[in-house]
């Protein structure tokens, strides 16, 4: 048997967010709070303090589900530039950030599309014109395992996908011979995003965050990222968390900021609370077909309002939001807007 592991193949994609595990351990030791600190702050302050130009950013949720949109709009408002984004079924979040000119690089598992709603005009335009560069490809499963390795504090994790394809060739993965089975095995590198953003239904002031419904990859991502901002529908008393600790997905010691933002996922869906705002999503998809329309959207919904509360008024306020709550509780049909989409 060989004395060292045989390297069989290497992807040529750019390695985003990898760090030497000892370097990251030391950073965690020196920078992550282990005490119960009150981390409540405004969305504006959280973005000012923890999101910087050029950061490698990952966003919790999935597609149009539980996406921390108040933070996304604030990043646009503060005009961050040069972000590298984890395209881990990044849909509405990345589209808004790209449209606003905040993004220069993407590692892509899934981006530039809106699932059943079709391809993203803003994302496509940016990549096809070269404004945004896709620096690496990967798959959804592959990406979340990069976060798993990051969370575990190990340099990589062996998996059995990606190989045999151009997705592997353009990824940052490598392939070695498994010293036990003798078969080729893929290694995906750990990823430690500079900052990760989440929106949750409830969280205490220390950052103990609970979720309802599927977790997607938020459990792993929150533990892998260096900085974590949590927005929450409501800040609850610590006692609420302690009465049902099994529901805690993100523990306080990985969290840096807690912001109370009711409807903070609008226009995306918050499980058991409110559904997609299909009309708003369609307005964005329609306006973002042109650069002028894109600017019109941001003037109306971001630069033209001081904060997320004012944005919620602009999208129709209480009346719109109550309707979205009814839809999510299956008390009102989503059908009307879905049908109108079909006719287009």
């Amino acid at each position: 048997m060989a004395r060292y592991v045989e390297l069989l193949a290497e992807g040529q994609g750019e390695l985003l967010g990898w760090r030497d595990p000892d370097e990251n351990r030391a950073w965690v030791r020196d920078n992550k709070p282990r005490g119960l600190l009150d981390k409540r702050m405004s969305v504006r302050e959280a973005v000012e303090r923890f999101v910087h130009d050029g950061d490698y950013l990952a966003v919790g949720g999935f597609g149009h589900i539980r996406v921390p949109m108040a933070l996304i709009y604030e990043i646009v408002r503060q005009r961050r530039r040069g972000l590298a984004i984890a395209g881990k079924t990044a849909v509405h979040d990345i589209d808004i950030l790209i449209g606003a000119g905040c993004v220069s690089k993407v590692e892509c598992a899934y981006a530039f599309g809106h699932e059943l709603r079709g391809l993203s005009p803003a994302g496509r335009r940016a990549v096809e014109s070269g404004q945004v560069k896709v620096v690496a490809e990967i798959s959804n499963g592959g990406y979340q395992w990069r976060f798993l390795a990051g969370m575990m504090g190990i340099p990589f994790i062996p998996v059995r996908n990606l190989v045999g394809t151009d997705t592997f060739e353009k990824s940052s993965a490598k392939q070695i011979r498994d010293p036990w089975s003798g078969k080729p095995v893929t290694l995906v590198p750990a990823a430690y995003p500079d900052v990760a953003l989440f929106h949750v239904p409830r969280c205490d002031r220390f950052g103990n965050a609970q979720m309802d419904g599927i977790l997607v990859e938020d459990f792993e991502l929150a533990r892998a990222a260096r900085r974590v901002i949590v927005t929450t529908e409501e800040i609850v008393d610590e006692e609420v968390i302690r009465q049902d600790p099994r529901q805690t997905v993100i523990p306080f010691y990985v969290v840096d900021a807690v912001c109370e933002v009711p409807f903070g996922a609008h226009p995306t869906l918050m499980p058991y609370r409110y559904s997609f705002d299909e009309e708003h999503i369609q307005e964005w998809l329609s306006l973002s077909r042109s650069e002028a329309g894109t600017q019109e959207y941001f003037a109306k919904y971001v630069y033209g309002v001081p904060d997320f509360a004012a944005y919620l008024e602009r999208i129709g306020g209480r009346r719109t939001l109550e309707r979205l709550q009814q839809v999510e509780r299956l008390r009102a049909p989503a059908g009307a807007s879905r049908r109108s989409r079909r006719r287009k």
Binding site: F112, L116, T167, G213, I214
Partner: protein
């Protein structure tokens, strides 16, 4: 070609859904996306496969789906589910061998069932940037039998050479998946298009015609492919949707979002 031209009383989507649904066996697990595959799995659940286990990549496991989801992560994907879990959990289940079937679609496919959903044109400077793998590379790597639904078979979608191989089919032929390091014994199983149903030749792993949809000819199948499709001597006709299947489809999708009009 459209089914409208054939003057049938069912839509093309209904035909594709019924074919897909009949391929799913009871007491098996299927990874589904939204749209047509979701409706096919729901139809199977309400007909011959009441115990089929439906799994979504974002973590929904075994839901009793009340309304059609528009995303593989939205609430109906874990409505009355047995678990609202995580991507790590369900992708690991697939890698560990629990998932029998997965549905995939693509912008283009080659004769070995390799798929492109990443770019049209050059990767560095694409003519069209598509969304990328999503979960497709994972499912195409891990699930025992993958099922493809492509409703627009043509010389642009059935191509000799893909601009980009996003998801592995049989790669370049038998044994190549294992050689590359993918799990043994799995791969593409059926391809369903607007023209017919296909499988893959045992020896060569090249695309082989299995049945023609009503009114479709072998010549049409070949004309609508850049690569040569293997044609066995006797080709059956795909069984059209039954009245009962169509009644259930109307229940599943009352707005006819997916099944069409």
């Amino acid at each position: 070609m459209t089914t409208e031209m054939r003057a049938t009383d069912y839509t093309l989507a209904e035909l594709l859904i019924c074919v897909a649904s009949r391929l799913l066996e009871d007491n098996r697990a299927v990874f589904v996306g939204t749209g047509l595959p979701m409706v096919a799995a729901m139809l199977a659940q309400r007909t011959h496969a009441p115990n089929i286990l439906i799994i979504f990549e974002a973590g929904g496991v075994g839901p009793q789906v009340p309304v059609l989801p528009v995303s593989v992560g939205d609430s109906p994907t874990f409505y009355r589910a047995v678990a609202a879990s995580s991507m790590h959990d369900v992708m690991s289940a697939a890698q560990a061998g629990y998932i029998d079937y997965a549905f995939l679609g693509a912008a283009a496919m080659d004769a070995y069932g390799n798929l492109n959903t990443t770019v049209i044109g050059d990767w560095e400077q694409p003519k069209v940037r598509l969304p990328g793998s999503g979960g497709a590379n994972d499912l195409g790597s891990f699930c025992w039998r993958t099922l493809y639904v492509m409703r627009n078979q043509s010389r642009r979608t059935f191509v000799k050479r893909l601009d980009f191989v996003t998801t592995p089919g049989w790669l370049g032929g038998a044994g190549q998946r294992e050689q590359a390091g993918l799990p043994a014994g799995c791969g593409p199983y059926r391809v369903i298009t607007q023209l017919g149903v296909y499988g893959f030749d045992e020896e060569t792993k090249r695309l082989t015609l299995l049945s023609l949809h009503p009114g479709v000819t072998v010549a049409e199948v070949q004309e609508n492919s850049e690569f040569e499709i293997l044609i066995p001597p006797a080709i059956p006709t795909t069984a059209p949707p039954t009245a009962e299947e169509r009644r259930i489809l109307q229940e599943i999708d009352p707005d006819r979002m997916v099944i069409g009009r």
